[in-house]
Amino acid sequence: MATKKTLEKSNISKNDLLQYYREMLLIRRFEEKAGQLYGMGLIGGFCHLYIGQEAVVVGLEACTKEGDKRITSYRDHGHMLACGMDPKGVMAELTGRAGGYSRGKGGSMHMFSREKHFYGGHGIVGAQVPLGAGLAFSDWYKGNDNVSFTYFGDGAANQGQVYETYNMAELWNLPVIFVIENNGYAMGTSIKRSTKSVTFFGRGAAYGIPGEQVDGMDVMAVKAAGEKAVAHCRAGKGPYILEMMTYRYRGHSMSDPAKYRTREEVEKIKSEKDCIEHVRDLLTQGGLASDEELKAIDKSIKEIVNEAAEFAKDSPEPDLSELFTDIYV
């Protein structure tokens, strides 16, 4: 595997690596289960799975501290699990039940947790970018050193409000990390068909914002880049752009014609670049973990996901009185 790095070259411990393995696997198994529940009709509407991109959120969450904020678009389940939200509450929101994070009123694309500083879950492509800079504005205003992780895709990267935000974020020195999850496709449109200059991180230069491209399939590379960006922001140097080169294995949403890319392309990335297999190989080949240890982790993750699914099926639908609550504070 071309991206493989040995642990000796990094400052990542065995325990860190096991933790990343666990967190990435949780997201993958959770998403597979969500796909299954969707197929059974238990999840409705739109459902966008994060399978393939797990290293991005897991690597960046490893750089956060209490009070840091995160916001993303509608492909958001992975971000929620990575920042420590309860899989039961997330799955129950997907099934539209009272036990969900939004008590069933938000759904897959609209979930939030004040406690974990997760600010959604937004269904309008690109809207989360100024919103994330606004979260950073609140920390700048209060004078603390917290950072806002503002995630968006290569599709959103062509929205005008992204560049309005770049301008103001640099102008006002806001502590925001713009994380572009470049999975190559805006729904079914490859970046080659949507975008003339294809290095998204480089667009920050026009506003004076530093940035870099990162192998988003390598959790250690993600973490290393994340640490650099976080240090920049916490030091009061303003925004930073991380362009994560990643890949989505599944369709854009559950109904996807799968005509805009070849199966060979998907299979090649799965077999050569998979972020979970990468860490698994590092752990086993380096003698850091036995097959039994990893199997035990797999089993515990499966149990967590099954419990979340059971909770999401058993949780009641919201009371009908909920129709008219929460419109105003």
Binding site: G106, F137, D256, A258
Partner: protein, 452 residues
Amino acid sequence: MATEVLMPALSPTMEEGTLAKCLVKEGDKVKSGQIIAEIETDKATMEFEATDEGTVGKLLVAEGTAGVKVNTPIAVIVDDGEAYSAAPAAAVVAAVLAAPVAAVSAPAAAVAIVSRASADWPADAPMKTMTVREALREAMAEEMRANPNVFLMGEEVGEYQGAYKISQGLLDEFGPKRIIDTPITEMGFTGIAVGAAWGGLNPIVEFMTFNFSLQAIDHILNSAAKTNYMSGGQLGCSIVFRGTNGAAARVGAQHSQDFAAWYAAIPGLKVAMPYSAADAKGLLKSAIRDGNPVIFLENEILYGQSFEVPDLPDFTIPFGKARIWREGSDVTIVSFGIGMKYALEAADLLTKDGISAEVIDLRTLRPIDYDTVLASVMKTNRCVTVEEGFPVGSIGDHLASTIMQRAFDHLDAPVVTCTGKDVPMPYAANLEKLALLTTADVVAAVKSVCYR
């Protein structure tokens, strides 16, 4: 244990599909996440992954079969080493039964309708004369002194001292961290302000005019207004969007639109549209303290007009309470914002014809004080609404429908709605005059409902 693999639903509306390809055969070992089949519908093709490890025990539906209903078992996966038996597998059946939805718009119960209008300040309160402009500035300054998390952002609010001088002097008092000049990027700075509100601040966003709020309307509606609901009450957004609204004079179609009915249509927003300086001050202070997004619609022509304002240290006006400007017995005129100018002028003129008009200023359009309007109509039995906005889907339309539903038996004439004309605002002086609402329009409407 054997697990049945069910025909999946691929979209919110899918009921059946074609098992286009089967990528495994009986006896194959499968891993979780492995693609085992391709499902096609008229809309999409999806690869279908195994969710459990095991061995394909039996394929129940042949490749190429069309019209397979969602949730039909298509294969059975057995644990490694286990043999397939035809006994029923542990299928998980989705029982998604739509709960019956209770009627939510049942006719209102017969409760006594009592006007909510009452005095806004004690009769012996000291008064001072000030313009609407000064009242708005004083409201912001007082709230900024009281709460360090309140700040103002917008185009030209700082060094220029406000395009309409509402924020004049505030930069000197509060400094550039709290009086923030933005680039001309309404969508961007509105999104930033909404994010800042979620982060615990209390932004006041000034739109140079509400016409420019259209550049930012996605954040006002989709980000600010809906998120508290979508988050199950976790993420309220304490923010005020304010600025001049409606027609000024000779500025053409793009700068002359009243957005009252637009924003009042949105659950999750509150909307205020004051006429007097006292209401401008009292309502803006309430708006800044409110935990919800508030649309605060001002008017350029009213900015320079003077009114009596109570000289009290902490004077506020609550939302959802109309003001009765003058009592009358023959007809109820309901208006708000600059429409009140025409309503009051008309009421004066009508006395010459012996018509006694009751004039109500709604002051806030979300919430609306229905009870004060209904109580008045039940007394006068006639109603005319007055607003500057377009006629289709106007506030007047909404009031007429409410009055018809809740006070039909009290009406002696149809409710007449006075609005701006159904045209983009023309530039030519004579055409503009024709497009705008006038006092004469209101007088004529009142006479028509009085059959005079």
